[in-house]
Symmetry: C2
């Protein structure tokens, strides 16, 4: 969870995840969407990968990135649980 929250703390990384939510993309496609250099994007991708929020698949010279939605869901779920938020389970207070 710590890794995931750190990863989510940067807006560009959230935007990368959001664009991968639609479809997988390779590094160049991702980099084109942002006004920074490729190495910078590569760094952000590494952080997302360390948090296990994305996976990569090589095909020739290109690396395609996929979002790992379940990891995101688990982290957010854990956070909600930590604060007892989102329990639609109609108020089953003790």
């Amino acid at each position: 969870m710590q890794e995931v929250l750190k990863a989510l703390a940067h807006p560009m990384r959230r935007d990368i995840l959001a664009m991968l939510r639609t479809a997988p993309r390779n590094a160049s496609e991702i980099a084109d969407k942002f006004d920074v250099t490729k190495p910078t994007v590569s760094g952000h991708l590494n952080i997302l990968k360390d948090a296990d929020l994305i996976s990569q698949v090589r095909s020739g010279t290109t690396l395609t990135y996929h979002i790992r939605l379940s990891v995101l869901e688990e982290a957010l779920g854990g956070l909600m649980g930590m604060f007892d938020i989102g329990n639609d389970k109609d108020l089953k207070e003790k």
Copy 2:
């Protein structure tokens, strides 16, 4: 949302929020729970306050901190929405 996610990225700040979730506390009570100095805790409280995740009420010399759960809920809700997560609304895909 940016401020909230930055605030949530530090474990001590999440723990502070979790303890305020149970009941309001003053700065000393909070500081006692952690193995750091008061100024350090005060710094974390400032960051939580900047994110609007807590509010403070003075009573004499003591400041009592309250969690602002709605802010947390909104931020997490926004995040879920950003990734289309947690829509229990039985799959109403377009």
